[in-house]
């Protein structure tokens, strides 16, 4: 047996893979040429030839577009302006400048305007404030995004509660001239209501409060939160006051988009629950609200909030343009948010609702503890997608005279010291790349979440 010479003692050497399947040629053969090598009948032949021509055409136009962008952004670009010539450095001799040959992107212009693009006209000495907020935002979001970071839930809660308040105080400086009496009334009634609700739930204060204690307590907590916000807003932190007219650029884009999404969450949940409620009034109201806002364009909402809102409020209430836009955006996006969340509510199996009632939970309890946690988890990718479209839509605020990133870029074209034939292309390129990076990474994240949350149905 051992000396059976006909048995192999070692593996046969591996044959090299067929040449036609490896490398670029193999890839081309498998993925490109295989769609155009069928000449078995006249029809198939014509089809193959057409396919080949189209492929060549697409390849040509695709590569030339790509080359055009590279050529513009890097090869022909002007990179620096050491002599401070401003527009001269990006224009040719005929146009009154010093550049030789055709000019691509004018990067010195972007360098000169980058602060304007990010902060608007926010005072130079106070730039650390928006910077701090950007840093906090990046750190918080980074923490939430990493799957295995400890305490993600806690950080998320902080980002939804403390962070907006901190950002508000840092950005404005906190000098809100709020009436002290109003604050005291809010705080006292908040405490009273919370206590009443709490004691009422134990049956100390009679039938009515026993039945409605939960609602009363909720109202009390809401009052307390408002009082706390008012309190923190009126403390003097020694920060210089920066009115919203000075905000601009990416800062406004982020403020509008984030406020829109954070404010629309609670409102969206209420509307979604209302739309699925068994009580006809709530259902009709929610449907009307949602369908109205979804039926009109955001521009008309912004128009409405900037011209009509002041008419609706008592004489003398005059509040700033940014806040008006924020209210419009929040109402608008809450309708979309509500539809998202409704999708999640509908995806929860009926057994969960029945199970909750079988355990004897009230409507509030079953929603809070059983249904919403599951439903909200399902709709996170949808919320991210809503956020992406809201983020893109914030550009529309420039129509009512606020300067977001696009508005700042657009308005910088009017600066005569940088007026060159390539300024607008450079500006649009910067703006497009910024938005693209934000939106594309968010959409990748949403795809990742969808995959991660898609548990239990996988086979």
């Amino acid at each position: 047996m051992a000396n059976a010479s006909y048995l192999r003692t070692e593996d046969a050497p591996l044959l090299p893979p067929p040449v036609s399947d490896t490398g670029i040629a193999g890839w081309m053969r498998r993925h490109v040429l295989s769609t155009m090598n069928d000449f078995s009948s006249p029809g198939a032949g014509i089809r193959s030839v057409l396919m080949g021509l189209l492929t060549l055409l697409l390849l040509y136009y695709g590569l030339s577009a790509l080359w055009g962008i590279i050529d513009f952004a890097f090869i022909k670009a002007v990179w620096s302006d050491p002599e401070g010539l401003k527009r001269g450095v990006c224009t040719t001799a005929e146009q009154g400048g010093v550049a030789t040959g055709e000019v691509g992107a004018c990067w010195p212009y972007v360098q000169a305007k980058v602060k304007l693009f990010i902060y608007g006209r926010y005072p130079e000495s106070e730039l650390w404030r928006p910077n701090l907020i950007f840093a906090l935002l990046a750190a918080g979001l980074g923490w939430i995004i990493i799957d295995k970071a400890p305490g993600r839930r806690f950080i998320a809660l902080l980002m939804l509660s403390v962070f907006p308040l901190a950002a508000l105080i840092l950005l404005t400086g906190g000098h809100a001239g709020l009436s002290r009496t109003g604050m005291v009334i809010m705080a006292v009634s908040g405490v009273v209501l919370t206590l009443a609700g709490h004691l009422g739930l134990r049956g100390v204060l009679g039938e009515i409060l026993l039945a409605f204690g939960g609602g009363v307590r909720l109202l009390g907590l809401l009052f307390l939160i408002i009082a706390a916000v008012m309190f923190f807003m009126s403390i003097d932190y020694g920060l210089e006051k920066v009115p919203t007219d000075f905000w601009g650029g990416l800062l406004v884009t982020l403020v509008v988009a984030l406020t829109g999404i954070v404010a629309s969450l609670p409102l969206g949940i209420v509307l979604a629950l209302g739309r699925r409620s068994s009580l006809p009034l709530f259902r009709v109201l929610s449907i009307t609200f949602i369908e109205f806002w979804r039926g009109v364009p955001l521009i008309s909402v912004l128009f409405m909030s900037s011209v009509m809102l002041p008419l609706f409020l008592p004489e003398g209430t005059d509040f700033d343009k940014l806040l008006r836009a924020l209210i419009g955006v929040a109402l608008f996006s809450s309708a979309y948010m509500a539809e998202n969340i409704r999708g999640g509510l509908q995806a929860i199996p009926k057994g969960q609702y029945e199970g909750a009632s079988a355990l004897g939970l009230s409507y509030n309890q079953s929603m809070r503890m059983i249904i919403l946690p599951q439903a909200l988890k399902i709709v996170i990718p949808g919320i991210v997608n809503t956020f992406i479209s809201l983020f893109k839509d914030t550009t529309l605020v420039l129509i009512i005279g606020l300067f977001d990133l696009l508005g700042m870029v657009q308005s910088s074209f009017t600066d005569p010291s940088w007026a060159t034939p390539v300024t607008s292309a450079t500006g649009y390129l910067v703006c497009a790349v910024t938005f693209w990076v934000f939106c594309f990474s968010m959409s990748r994240y949403s795809v990742h979440l969808e995959k991660k949350l898609h548990t239990g149905h996988k086979r």
Partner: protein, 409 residues
């Protein structure tokens, strides 16, 4: 006495603990709150209007409007003329312009979107790569930025007013004042051609039903394509020739000599598409197409592979399998989200205001509002227009969806 308290208690008890009663109690409270809120708003509005000494009501609609509106479909259809037309005409001009750009945008976006969506699924990697890049670029950049790019940058690359790029061997051309094309002029008797065509369409429909019935009865489908061609093209063509070719083209006129200010395209000849219209239409179509492409791709992928295999097993050819098996099933998945894209496109057409294409927002809630100053009425009218458009689109698409829906037993 005692019975009374028991009864009273039971009513309170019911209000507190019976879920039906409790529901009504809550609803009544919310209704009261809402009524209070709205009467507060109405009170504020009325007193603000009085203080600002503003008029209210819809009388302004019959006033004459004195401003120019850019040459556009609405202006042509309504015969708008400053100083003669009323503000109601302004409303309709804006509405027609919005509807025009929305319909043309929907058509272009759907065609392009289907093309790109199918390309993304192609086995040819070059096709799918180009389609992927297209989708990822166009849907991740704000529409307004794309609109600015087309209008302020790309369309500025065309020649100045006194020059042109010739198209179709000089029949048309493009420069900064717009794209000029020959305009069709319908002469006496063209109505018969149109009538023949409409009858042809009806005939095709009837013939298709007949052919299907024959196919079910005998197993063979009578030839359809020649009949369709005859009905749709042949007969109208004969009528056209019999009527003595009642269609001519009015060519745009481009003057290269004469006084310098008169050179270039002449205003009253040919058909012109203004840069504002082209920019808006391009931006809307290209942006929405990227979303439609994703919907189409998802719809086609949603058809299980077994369906393709089964259709091959039944001996259907590739084209027939696509047409009879795959596409009808994919459409069921595609149509509902497609509807919302159509609605989005219609609403996004309001971005016209940024480049001053005279749509409803720009011309009615913009220029007219600045002159009249009755915000409430005018913004209300604008919002109603959008709501009605949304409603009509949804109704049509719901009808279409119901037609193609899976018929379940």
């Amino acid at each position: 006495m005692q019975e009374d308290t028991v009864r009273q208690q039971s009513i309170i008890n019911k209000l507190l603990y019976n879920s039906t009663w409790r529901g009504w109690l809550f609803q009544a409270l919310v209704l009261l709150g809402l009524l209070g809120f709205f009467s507060w708003i109405i009170y504020n509005t009325v007193s603000n209007l009085q203080r600002l000494d503003k008029k209210s009501g819809f009388d302004f609609l019959s006033q004459r409007a004195g401003f120019e509106i850019l040459d556009s479909p609405g202006v042509r259809l309504m015969d708008y003329a400053p100083g003669v037309s009323t503000y109601l005409d302004v409303f309709w001009v804006g509405a027609i312009n919005t509807i025009t750009v929305a319909i043309l945008g929907i058509i272009a976006a759907t065609l392009l979107g289907f093309l790109i969506g199918v390309m993304r699924l192609s086995r040819n990697r070059i096709f799918s790569a180009v389609a992927t890049v297209y989708v990822e670029i166009f849907r991740n950049i704000p529409l307004l930025l794309q609109l600015f790019f087309w209008y302020f940058f790309a369309l500025r690359a065309v020649p100045e007013l006194r020059e042109r790029w010739s198209l179709f061997g000089g029949l048309g051309g493009i420069n900064k004042s717009g794209l000029y094309l020959p305009a069709p002029v319908f002469e006496q008797g063209f109505g018969y051609v149109a009538l023949a065509f409409v009858l042809g369409v009806a005939g095709c429909w009837l013939y298709a039903r007949f052919a299907t019935a024959r196919q079910f009865a005998t197993g063979r489908r009578p030839p359809t394509l020649p009949v369709y061609l005859l009905l749709l093209i042949g007969i109208p063509l004969v009528v056209f020739l019999v009527q003595g070719s009642p269609l001519s083209w009015e060519l745009p006129v481009f003057k290269e000599d004469g006084p310098i200010l008169r050179r270039g395209y002449q205003a009253d000849a040919g058909m012109v598409l203004k840069p504002e219209f082209i920019g808006l239409w391009l931006a809307l179509s290209l942006y929405t197409a990227s979303f439609i492409a994703e919907i189409v791709r998802a719809g086609i992928l949603a058809v299980p592979h077994g369906q393709t295999e089964a259709s091959q097993a039944l001996g259907l050819s590739g084209g027939m399998a696509q047409r009879l098996i795959i596409i009808p099933q994919a459409l069921r998945v595609i149509v509902p989200p497609l509807t919302s894209q159509f609605l989005n496109l219609t609403k996004n057409s309001s971005l016209a205001v940024a480049i001053a294409y005279p749509d409803i927002v720009s011309v009615f809630a913009g220029t007219a509002l600045n002159q009249i100053g009755q915000e409430i009425e005018m913004i209300f009218m604008m919002m109603m227009l959008y709501l009605i458009l949304s409603l009509l689109t949804s109704l049509f698409m719901n009808w279409f969806n119901a037609r193609i829906r899976l018929v379940e037993r």
